[in-house]
């Protein structure tokens, strides 16, 4: 049953995205449908002995109001968090953040050394060549489905 749902979801993704690796169909009310998009999504291959890895992407907000990313879901991890690396003086700090706000007409880059999505407690191998599905949940009620390839750093 679960498999069938997953398969349907996958087919839907491929159909909507035209087979692109980083699909981003938006669910939610019609007025946010075309306002949020994701590109260049990828997941870093998990390192040996590690139960965590990071995901990166660029999230764009073409709308007129702030969009706030509150949470991310993925089946490959027990917990998904939003984290931020930040150079402070000579120290590189890393902290969990509650949300990521994307201003109107802006895009936010989740990239190595900056903001990223942390996949904690991996439930399966995350190897180069795999594709990981994410659901991004926004404060506005919009959801973004993202399909990201796994790559070596």
């Amino acid at each position: 049953m679960k498999k069938a749902v997953l398969l349907t979801a996958l087919i839907a993704l491929v159909v909507v995205s035209g087979g692109q690796s980083s699909a981003s169909p938006v669910e939610g009310s019609a007025d946010v449908r075309d306002q949020l998009s994701v590109r260049d999504a990828w997941v870093a291959e998990a390192l040996p002995g590690q139960s965590m890895t990071a995901a990166y992407m660029i999230i764009s907000n073409q709308g007129d109001v702030d969009e706030e990313l509150l949470s991310v879901e993925s089946e490959v991890a027990e917990k998904v968090e939003l984290h931020k690396m930040e150079q402070q003086g000579e120290m590189m700090r890393m902290r969990r953040v509650d949300s990521i706000v994307i201003g109107p007409g802006e895009e936010v880059e989740l990239e190595p050394g900056g903001l990223h999505i942390m996949l904690i407690g991996l439930t399966q191998e995350v190897k180069e060549g795999d594709t990981i599905e994410f659901k991004l949940n926004f404060e506005s009620g919009a959801n973004l489905m993202v399909s990201a390839p796994v790559k070596k750093r």
């Binding site: 002995g49 984290h83 402070q88 003086g89 120290m91 700090r93 890393m94 902290r95 990223h116 904690i120």
Partner: protein
């Protein structure tokens, strides 16, 4: 106390310029000024202004790091990823790249190690002459076995180092670095804030340059290449 759980603590105890070399920065500023004005001086003075050392290679003067001799650093003893005692001085004669991190570091450490693999590729085939040293600031989780497994992922001539916390603390302090555990409610477990300098150490064991996490593999390689060239000739 070197180790603090307070994330509110002001980081960067070594807030003075860490990248200060022996003899201070004056020489560097002077060299930069000379470089800037050299063409001008030459134009004014005609042939008489021909630089005295015109025969010296200049390839690295503008598009490569200007190596210096740092006072920080020096020999240290830790445990390597085979569980054996490691002394930095046992590897004198090798060019070394030293980095402090931890294997559960999800972003900056693997990114840096991956960058070092690209440095090696830039230097091929001489990259084999460079030894990467990854010192863990998280000895509780980073056992020698774990370090060996972790570093095995990267195609590097690398040694993972761990040890007693006070030995690690002494080493990172000796290199002007610092770290502390972030106060965090993350499910990821303890997260460390740490300095991310990549230290270039010459064959004598002297620190010659501090790269930052923003430096490109090409820039780092051009620094290492100066040591490879100057010391093999």
């Amino acid at each position: 106390m070197r180790f603090s759980q307070q994330s509110t603590r002001q980081p960067g105890r070594h807030s003075g310029d860490l990248r200060r070399a022996r003899g201070g920065n004056n020489a560097l500023v002077l060299s930069a000024a000379l470089l800037l004005f050299a063409p001008f001086l030459q134009a004014c003075g005609g042939q008489e202004a021909e630089p005295e050392h015109a025969h010296e290679p200049k390839a690295y003067q503008q598009d490569a790091p200007s190596l210096q001799e740092y006072e920080l650093g020096g020999d240290f003893s830790l445990i390597d990823h085979d569980g054996q005692q490691f002394n930095l001085s046992d590897h004198d004669g090798e060019i070394r790249l030293l980095f402090f991190g931890y294997t559960s570091c999800p972003d900056i450490c693997p990114t840096t190690l991956s960058k070092i693999t690209r440095v090696y590729k830039e230097l091929e085939p001489a990259g084999d002459e460079v030894l990467t040293l990854f010192v863990s600031v998280d000895p509780t989780r980073d056992t020698p076995e774990k370090l060996a497994e972790y570093l095995g992922y990267f195609s590097l001539n690398a040694i993972g180092l761990t040890g007693h916390k006070d030995e690690i603390d002494r080493t990172i302090e000796q290199y002007g670095g610092d770290y502390f555990i972030e106060e965090s409610d993350s499910a990821a477990g303890p997260l460390y804030a740490h300095t991310t300098y990549l230290y270039l150490i010459d064959r004598e064991g002297t620190v010659r340059f501090l790269f930052t996490h923003e430096d490109t593999p090409e820039w780092i390689a051009s620094g290492v290449a100066q040591l490879l060239e100057s010391e093999t000739s």
